[in-house]
Structures are given as C-alpha cells and as structure tokens.
Symmetry: C2
DNA sequence: ATTATTTGATACTAAATTAGTATCAGTTTA
DNA sequence: TAAACTGATACTAATTTAGTATCAAATAAT
C-alpha cells in the first residue's frame, strides 16, 4: 500500500532542489540530471507544477523553472493533491441506490476521520521544513540527492 | 488518492456481515448476493481471509465461512495488510547507490511518521466496533447494506 | 538572421496494478 | 449419487501509473 506515487515523489524532489538555493532558476535538464529523474517525465511534472502556480518558468536559453512561492508555503499535501487528487480513503457511489443511508454509514465515518488526519499531517510538512532539515543534516552527512521512492 | 481498494473493501463488508449475527456461517453465494459483490471475486477474497485465519470455512452443503476470531480483535489495519500489504508511504530503493544517507533522509523521516500514524489509526478501528455502531444506527435508520467503495 | 536552448502542448506506448471471470477438483450433506 | 459447497489456480479485462516522443513557440547569444 503505497501512498506517494512517482509523480508526487519527483515533484517533491524537484521542489526541494529548487528551494535549496533560493531564487535559482534551473532547467528541466539540469534537474533531471541532478535528481536522476527521466527527463521527459520530469518535464510533464514540471508543466503541472507550473500550471498549479507553485513554480514559474522562462523559455529559451538560460530559462528554466523556479519556485513561485515561498517553500514554507508549499506542503506535501498540496503536491499530493496536484498529482493524485485529494486524499480520500474510499467513496460511496450510491451504486444502484443500494446505499440509502450514507450519512449514517459507520465505516465511512471512521474512514473519513482517518482521511482527515492524513490530510492534516501531510499539510503540516512543508517543503521549506524539509529543506532546512536537509541542510542541517547535510552539514554532517554530505549527500547530494533528495529522496527516492519506489 | 484512494487508500482502500476493492479487495479490502469487500473483505470488510464480508467480515461485517459475518459478524452481524454472531456464529453464523454463510456461503460465498449468500454473501455475494447480500452485499452485492461479484461472486467469483468474493470467493477469492474469502479464500485469502481463510488463509489468513480470520475466518474458517466448511465445505459441502450447508457449508460456508464464519468468523474465526472475535470481531473486536479484527481491525481494519489487518485487512488492509492482507490485501494491500503493509502501509508504507514510500520506500527508498538505494537505486544505483545514490542514496547514501537513508538514515538521515528528512522526507523519509516525515513520511515514516505519517505512515505510522495511519497504521495506528487503522489499527484502532475494529470490525467489532463497526458492527456495534452499525447496529446502533440501524435501529433508527434501517438500511441493510454495509459500505460501498469506489 | 541563425542557431542553440529552453518551455508549451499534446499524443503516444509500456508496465504494473487492480478488478473481475472461469474451471475443475475435492468435501459434505441429504 | 446429486446438489451445494470450498480449494486451488489460471486467465482476461480495465484502469492507473510510468515513461517516451514530437513539434511548435520563446528567448538569448552569436
Ligand atoms: S532518498 Fe533514499 S531515503 Fe530518502
Ligand atoms: S456504503 Fe455507502 S456510505 Fe457506506
């Protein structure tokens, strides 16, 4: 049961990389090589991040993408939502009118509670926090990359 | 981002149905009709529940499945684990030795925290609790079915 | 102006997972 | 011995996720 998919994972890595040296504009190519993410795949992910307003872009030589908002104000929840839709544990479909008392459904109720909890927790983790933590650890540890799912 | 898949969902519905009238043994056919779950699919799900020890089975006429353990001692986490594996938000693969300080990875750390939280919460929801709640609500509401994902 | 570098838009393929179906052998009861 | 069951297992279909490819348009440097 995996919660983050590659889109989300790569997006987070890219955002963190962009936030590491503030104000930096990086090309998809550079990011792809730095974070070891398939170029074309990353391109599409970046395009979504641009559409969502989290990063801005500039075409042409010397162009690339940069954070459009303070990394403190980007949280993991946002990114999950962009690539995987809102957290929802399960959803009743009223399939063929069978579910006549959705409002009273206990399982649904419990599940929504947990769903909310997960949502809140992911909201609490900002890219900014990840960056500052990474930097602090980096002082000692010295590793370049960011994170790798699978 | 859906957390429960159909296997888990149907399994839970079956377990709840079995627990509703204690000691009852029901055939896959009856369960399938009662809960509106595709018969052959449910059969395989039940077979897994049997293997896992949560229910026992009896072959032949009048046979079927029944809960093997107290519904209070079956929780949603158990069922998720059977059908979707352990909760794991994401996992570092050490792909090509790039991830040299997994232990210090901040994203991983945060994610494991949330993972643990989700796990704990699902552990807290027992089939028994769902049943008693359902019964209480059922007094008033009067609906037959259990829950429906999608 | 021309060329190299970059994103924008979008279509496509491949792999993996999830959902669902089918079949036949063996057990139990009537 | 027939009917109602589960056990085991193989199979197909649908959906989602992951990844590739292409071409147009923008920008900057030469
Ligand atoms: S990148 Fe490997 S553990 Fe985070
Ligand atoms: S079954 Fe419809 S809400 Fe639970």
């Amino acid at each position: 049961m995996k919660i983050l998919n590659k889109h989300t994972d790569y997006a987070l890595r890219a955002l963190i990389a962009l936030g590491m040296n503030p104000g930096s504009r990086m090309s998809a190519k550079a990011l792809s090589e730095g974070q070891v993410i398939p170029y074309q795949f990353l391109r599409r992910i970046l395009q979504e991040l641009i559409r969502s307003g989290l990063v801005n872009s500039k075409q042409g030589v010397g162009g690339g993408v940069a954070l459009a908002v303070d990394p403190e104000r980007i949280n993991v929840r946002d990114v999950i939502e962009i690539f995987q839709g809102p957290v929802q544990v399960s959803e009743c479909m009223f399939r063929k009118q069978l579910c006549s008392n959705r409002a009273n459904c206990v399982l649904r109720h419990e599940i929504m509670r947990i769903e909310q909890l997960v949502d809140d927790e992911f909201s609490r983790v900002s890219v900014g926090k990840l960056i500052t933590d990474l930097k602090r650890v980096g002082e000692a540890g010295k590793s370049r990359h960011v994170h790798e799912t699978n």
